[in-house]
């Protein structure tokens, strides 16, 4: 076998020409509308938050990889994506140092200690959020504000609610609900409600999601099975399904975090199981749990189940016969 032209490689043999930097840059582009919406609705603190998230993540990646004498991978844009997402899943008025430290935790502990991009078990940005809320629960969960824009303030006065609560918190506290919640549809769709920085504007998120779908970076399997499950379960429980779909972090989580290549199942069947599992957990947490919102924890819990789902959803080998019982 001295023939040097003979190259033996394992499958897959068909390769696309998309590399990690291109993919990650597209995700950044797709996240931009939601970031702009966040800054528009929440003002300068949101911008500071986004910058500190990126600084924390990219800085942590640089420092950790220099320290461990590994090749520095900040050029692949994945740390920028994580940084933006960390800021987007936290409240807009959270102190900047919390965002930086959550980014450091997300990259340093959740991503690099598990082996870097492609080896992390959990979605780094969501783990960063879970870390922040568990570490500084008082500081990290009180930064919700109603947007500064005029029409938001006007309709917020109309319902006479605690100004720092998100719509889902109000639902949990019993301040809204019971009657039709259609008056929330438009604000939730546009984004002028209280919530985490990047999750409020369904419109901006969907623009980004359409871009990712057009570039074929994500498929609709996980987001659709996730969102439909939430709608069905909440409708069965007698609540407004559209309100549940539009509010909280569901659209952000379903399109941008549940679809993370590294922490979601490989094939179609597994992805649909994953989406349904996320949807059931999110609905259960929202309807019966102690927290008003459960998207982050549902995706993290399902991340842990991905190896099992992959084993279950493994395609049949060619020629394999089902064993007789």
């Amino acid at each position: 076998m001295a023939d040097s032209k003979l190259i033996v490689t394992p499958a897959p043999h068909l390769r696309g020409n998309i590399d990690t930097p291109t993919l990650m840059r597209d995700v950044v582009i797709a996240l931009l509308p939601a970031c702009v919406a966040g800054v528009y609705f929440f003002g300068v603190p949101a911008l500071i938050s986004l910058v500190s998230g990126v600084v924390g993540c990219v800085g942590a990646e640089l420092v950790f990889e220099k320290l461990s004498k590994k090749p520095v991978t900040i050029g692949d844009w994945s740390a920028v994506v994580t940084g933006l997402l960390v800021a987007m899943v936290l409240p807009p008025h959270v102190p900047a140092w919390i965002v930086v430290l959550s980014g450091v935790f997300a990259i340093g502990i959740v991503k690099l200690l598990f082996g870097g991009l492609g080896y992390n078990v959990f979605n780094p940005a969501l783990a960063g959020r879970a870390f922040a809320t568990a570490a500084w629960s008082a500081l990290a969960t009180t930064g919700y504000v109603w947007p500064a824009s005029i029409e938001g303030a006007a309709w917020a006065r109309g319902i006479d609610a605690v100004t720092s609560a998100t719509p889902l918190t109000m639902l949990k506290m019993g301040e809204i609900g019971g009657t039709s919640m259609s008056r929330f549809y438009m604000p939730l769709f546009l984004g002028n409600v209280a919530g985490s920085l990047g999750e409020t504007s369904a419109l901006a998120l969907l623009i980004g999601a359409v871009y990712l779908l057009w570039r074929t970076h994500i498929s609709l399997r996980i987001p659709m099975s996730y969102i439909i499950t939430v709608a069905v379960v909440t409708a069965l429980y007698g609540q407004d399904p559209l309100f549940h779909v539009l509010s909280g972090g569901l659209i952000l989580g379903a399109f941008f975090m549940a679809t993370d290549y590294v922490t979601s199942p490989i094939n179609a069947k597994g992805q649909i199981i994953f989406g349904i599992g996320c949807g059931i957990l999110t609905s259960l947490i929202r309807l019966f749990g102690g927290y008003p919102e459960g998207v982050a924890y549902s995706i993290l819990i399902m991340n842990a189940a991905v190896p099992m789902i992959d084993r279950f959803a493994r395609p049949k080998r060619f020629g394999e016969v089902k064993a007789r019982a």
Binding site: S68, K69, I109, F131, A134, A135, W136, S137, L139
Partner: protein
């Protein structure tokens, strides 16, 4: 057989029960929330280790091997009862904080493991030294972990309620990370500490042979 001195130093670093043998994880996580708890737990376990190692070493030819584990447990439980009552009498605050983990020293893996692996095969002097070394190794590990966890979780270090000492405040309470006080934070701290110990060990080893390789701790 190793000499008594070797048996002593073995437990402190080379076979440190927490960082190298990974034994006794539950008390490690529970007792490393404050430096004073760590010292209290470590010394209690050291006392039980020395006592049980001595008695089991003396009785090693009498104990039938089929029922050796129940026999060890009876010996260990005797010493744990002594520690439990003494601590309850003289250090009530510490006893309240450590709570169920004091009686649980009975089933601490370190103590049973040393009875099984060392005291049942070695003489009383070496067994005492082994118990002392292992106990101090455990204590040192607890102090290292709690010296990291206590300030991060509360902003205070060296708080000891039994001595009426409120500790030294390093930064305000509102910046403290509550997660470090929870088991999650304990396991993350423990994991990072084990990583650091392995890094130091591998650095030492590569220096010993040929120091060219960069020591990325596995």
């Amino acid at each position: 057989m190793s000499s008594p001195l070797q048996a002593f130093t073995n437990g402190i670093y080379k076979e440190n029960p927490t960082f190298r043998l990974l034994l006794g994880m539950c008390p490690t996580i529970a007792a490393s929330m404050a430096v004073s708890n760590g010292i209290g737990m470590g010394l209690a376990a050291t006392f039980v280790l020395i006592g049980s190692n001595l008695i089991i070493s003396l009785l090693r030819s009498v104990i039938p091997s089929e029922i050796r584990i129940p026999c060890y447990i009876v010996v260990i439980a005797t010493f744990v009862t002594i520690v439990d009552l003494v601590m309850n009498a003289f250090l009530p605050e510490l006893h309240a904080v450590l709570g169920v983990f004091v009686p649980l020293i009975v089933v601490n893996c370190i103590i049973l493991a040393r009875a099984e692996a060392f005291a049942s095969k070695n003489g009383p002097v070496a067994s005492i030294m082994d118990g002392l070394g292992m106990g101090l190794g455990f204590t040192v590990a607890l102090i290292v972990l709690s010296a990291i966890r206590e300030p991060l979780a509360t902003g205070v270090i060296l708080a000891a309620a039994d001595f009426g000492f409120d500790g030294i405040r390093l930064f305000p309470q509102r910046y403290a990370m509550a997660i470090v006080n929870q088991p999650v934070g304990g396991f993350i701290t423990l994991g990072l500490a084990i990583g650091a110990v392995n890094l130091i060990t591998s650095k030492k080893k590569s220096k010993g042979s040929h120091g060219a390789q960069g020591g990325a701790g596995k």
